[in-house]
């Protein structure tokens, strides 16, 4: 292999107690306090991870048996804290790793969002991006008193939202602030303008009230979960996170992204492609078994069923466990966040699907550090992706293994990017055009 481009790594997790049932989750650690997240983020930073995406998963906690009971008992789908509040705490204790909060475009008014993320960029000295949460589950919409989610209109609305945010960022020209104490001129009023945005969904006068931040425009991350996401990512995203899929499929998405980026008036390399992947990483088969099945099998399957229900919004409580899955159900699962998993696709019954989901699955790759590194190299070289966003829980032993073993092997093999680089998040994304095949 002559193509030895660096493999860049990011991490994604939500601020939740995920893994609380696992013996390796330290009893003393309080998931509602910042200490654990700070520690783990420092571990990831030392290992050379470029960013942490803080997820805000859109789930349906009351799908299973039509009530919150099963989800609450197992601590899945709920609770979840707001991602933006943790970021300044992580930033205060790190110096180069970036942060990407997932912020719901349904819940955040665009003005509040623009000023929040630009403030985060100031407070982190330029280490922040953002990931628009463009979908909202029916449960989350109801809980928050929002209109129920709807298809095409929602897309239009989000497109308009992105235009408002971009206009607010641009409402201060990069050199608008002069700060000349002698004349008393803080900023040049000619370079700060109202946006007077009047759209179908939003009316915003502007200008933004936060001065330009170190990155000026912040990197936008977007997960390509369905066809429509490709167009959105091509138009707005700096990083597209494509969930793990067969290599040809990822290459197809990549070509589509490049093509559509050009149609949207951008460079074909404007959208960096990171593969989103959930690794089952452990030194031995026994260690991996302990991670994926920390509880007796029936309990793991119960967990899997509840997680699958909350993820798909379908009540799976009354579906027979051992009969072949019917077409309707298969389609519904396929269109959910779990649906792209090969393990789920292979499942011939609900029991098998639930077992694959379990407490923290489904897993996309499995092995020790060398084997996972082999997989990452193979996928990176075959898809020409820019890197990986690894999904994980905040369990210290798990984070430690991925950071200090998997990433360390990649570094030994010369596949990690050099350490001493700018700490701006935009500078830590690959600048070189991704090589086309």
């Amino acid at each position: 292999m002559t193509d030895k481009r660096p493999i860049r790594l990011g991490w994604v997790s939500s601020i939740s107690p995920a893994g609380w049932e696992d013996d390796r989750f330290p009893q003393m650690l309080d998931w509602t306090r910042p200490e654990m997240y700070v520690e783990m983020t420092r571990v990831l930073e030392s290992a050379g991870f470029d960013f942490v995406v803080l997820d805000d998963e859109q789930l349906t906690p009351d799908a299973y048996e039509g009530s919150l009971a099963a989800a609450a008992r197992r601590g899945v789908a709920l609770p979840q804290l707001d991602p933006s509040v943790l970021i300044p705490m992580l930033a205060a204790h790190t110096r180069s790793i970036g942060f990407v909060p997932t912020l719901s475009t349904a819940l955040y008014p665009p003005f509040i969002l623009a000023r929040l993320v630009r403030t985060l960029d100031h407070l982190s000295d330029g280490r922040v991006g953002w990931r628009p949460g463009t979908t909202v589950s029916r449960w989350a919409a109801r809980a928050a008193g929002l209109a129920p989610p709807g298809g095409g209109e929602q897309r239009e609305r989000v497109e308009e939202y992105m235009r408002v945010v971009a206009a607010l960022f641009a409402s201060w020209e990069p050199d608008a602030v002069v700060e000349d104490p002698v004349s008393g001129t803080f900023a040049d009023p000619e370079k700060v303008r109202p946006i007077d945005f009047v759209g179908q969904y939003y009316q915003v006068r502007g200008p933004l009230n936060v001065v330009p931040s170190p990155q000026y425009d912040l990197p936008v991350f977007h997960t390509v979960a369905e066809e429509a996401d490709i167009g959105f990512a091509a138009a707005h995203a700096d990083v597209a996170i494509v969930p793990f899929a067969p290599v040809e499929e990822i290459r197809g998405v990549r070509e589509e992204l490049r093509h559509r980026a050009v149609s949207a008036g951008r460079s074909p390399d404007a959208v960096r492609l990171y593969v989103g992947l959930n690794p089952l990483a452990g030194r031995t088969a026994d260690a991996r078994e302990a991670i994926s099945r920390p509880l007796p099998e029936t309990e793991c399957i119960e967990f899997g069923l509840v997680r699958l229900s909350c993820g798909t919004g379908i009540d799976l409580a009354s579906v027979p466990l051992d009969e072949p899955l019917d077409d309707t159900l298969t389609k519904q699962i396929e269109s959910s966040p779990f649906g792209r998993s090969a393990a789920i696709a292979r499942a011939s019954s609900l029991r098998e699907a639930a077992a694959a989901v379990g407490v923290a699955g489904p897993y996309d790759v499995s092995g020790d550090a060398e084997e996972i590194a082999d997989d990452l190299e193979r996928i990176a070289d075959a898809t020409a992706c820019d890197g990986f966003v690894l999904r994980g829980r905040w369990i210290p032993t798990e984070v430690n293994y991925v950071a200090n073993h998997v990433a360390a092997v990649l570094r030994m093999r010369g596949r990690m990017a050099p350490r001493e680089r700018s700490s701006r998040l935009s500078d830590r994304l690959p600048a070189e055009p991704a090589r086309s095949s």
Binding site: V38, T119, A144, G184, D188, S213
Partner: protein, 436 residues
């Protein structure tokens, strides 16, 4: 025996003081200055809280344009204080973290979730300065104007009721984390709220468990009839700007009476008055410091008119500069902005008001550390107690003068907090033994 009182810092995360000499070595956009200030205010000052004002728009109140506000870097040019408070939280343990958030701009569920998260991550130190918003910020939020004054309070009542229910949607004991019984939470104790109001609705529950304080500490600054009722009924803490000890006493007595009429113990509402402190080696030295604050290019009548127009929601460019305000003058937005300069027979001209607004000095104490400390003690004796919100910047020069020169004198007299006995903001705020 002096009457004990409490201290807070009332400040902003914004541009307004960018041209002060003492800020030149500190970047007001970044976290370090504020984090350092909060650490000093906690470990040496024993303050109840650091409070950040907020404006969610660059105004056009003055001459219908953002020009003056942008040119001079005035109110409205500021960051979001919530993430700043989060940065401060990781470097402090006791001091309260209060942000200003508007019930007219945030969706209630979002606000409830953000503040519950801050309360958890800070170990129960989140405070909310509940405002209904002034000025024309609504134009950044899809509306031409904010509702009329009383309707804003109707909406705020509903808003507070809803977010309180959301914070309560996880009952005490809901989180079990029982690994052996494999029960993370008790579903019986997580309840939807199904709130359907005239202005707001949400089914809940919140995705965040019950905050450590249950309800983050609520602060209010309403001064109108309706605002005072709202504050006396709901707030743990009230912040108020008045120009004389007599006016402060009137206000506090009134609030306490109203609190009683709502069936509350008046001691459960702490009233803080904003005071500026100018501390020097001698009176002349302190006066020179005061002059240096005023003697800069961004302190002028135009700045004062722009500030006052913003705060009052009225373009004062329309009124003559050298006459007092018309006797029956009222503005629609913040009804308290006018009486501040007209009550108790004051006859200030608009020019004088504009200069006072530009200087932002209002009620101030100037002198040696001992003069200032004595002045604070006297003020609280006259007012009847509760607290002083020091209105100032976060730069180290200003903060060290207060915590290292004035507060030790107050502490020696048993007037201010000697230590924090609790971990949450509300417990410390209501602790009657705070000077022991």
């Amino acid at each position: 025996m002096v009457m004990p009182f409490r201290l807070a810092l009332f400040s902003m995360y914004g541009a307004r003081h960018w041209d002060l000499p003492q800020l030149q070595n500190n970047d007001w956009r970044r976290a370090p200055m504020y984090v350092e200030a909060a650490r000093m205010l906690e470990t040496r000052g024993g303050l109840e809280a650091i409070i950040f004002a907020d404006g969610a728009a660059i105004p056009t109140a003055y001459k219908g344009s953002t020009e003056a506000y942008v040119r001079y870097g005035l109110e409205g040019v500021n960051g979001d204080a919530v993430p700043l408070l989060a940065a401060i939280a990781t470097s402090t343990r006791h001091i309260g973290l209060m942000c200003t958030m508007s019930t007219s701009l945030y969706p209630p569920y979002l606000l409830a979730r953000i503040l519950a998260t801050l309360d958890h991550l800070s170990g129960g130190r989140a405070g909310w300065n509940l405002v209904t918003s002034v000025g024309e910020v609504a134009k950044n939020f899809g509306a031409d104007a904010l509702p009329e004054h009383d309707e804003r309070y109707d909406r705020a009542e509903e808003f507070l009721e809803l977010v309180t229910q959301l914070w309560d949607s996880w009952a005490p004991g809901a989180v079990l984390r029982d690994r052996d019984g494999l029960r993370f939470a008790d579903p019986e104790r997580i309840r939807p709220v199904n709130y359907e109001g005239t202005y707001h609705r949400a089914a809940g529950p919140l995705t965040v468990p019950r905050p450590p304080q249950r309800r983050p500490t609520i602060m209010q600054a309403g001064s109108s009839e309706r605002g005072r009722d709202f504050a006396a009924k709901n707030a743990d803490m009230i912040i108020c700007i008045r120009n004389s000890p007599e006016a402060m006493k009137d206000f506090r007595d009134d609030i306490r009476e109203r609190a009683r009429s709502f069936g509350r113990n008046p001691d459960s509402v702490k009233v803080f008055f904003t005071v500026r402190l100018f501390v020097g080696d001698s009176y002349e030295d302190a006066l020179a410091l005061r002059s240096s604050m005023i003697d800069r290019a961004t302190v002028n009548e135009e700045v004062g008119l722009a500030n006052y127009s913003y705060r009052a929601g009225y373009d004062f460019n329309r009124l003559p500069l050298d006459e007092p305000l018309p006797a029956d003058f009222r503005t629609g937005h913040s009804q308290s902005m006018v009486p501040q300069y007209t009550e108790r027979g004051q006859t200030l001209t608009l020019r004088e008001i504009a200069l006072a607004e530009a200087r932002k000095e209002n009620f101030h104490l100037t002198g040696t550390p001992k003069d200032v400390a004595d002045g604070m003690v006297d003020l609280m004796e006259q007012v009847g107690g509760d607290g002083i919100a020091i209105r100032d910047t976060n730069d180290p020069t200003t903060v060290t003068a207060v915590v290292d020169r004035v507060i030790p004198l107050l502490r020696a007299r048993g007037a201010v907090r000697s230590r924090y006995r609790y971990s949450t903001l509300r417990e410390n705020l209501l602790d009657p033994e705070f000077t022991s």
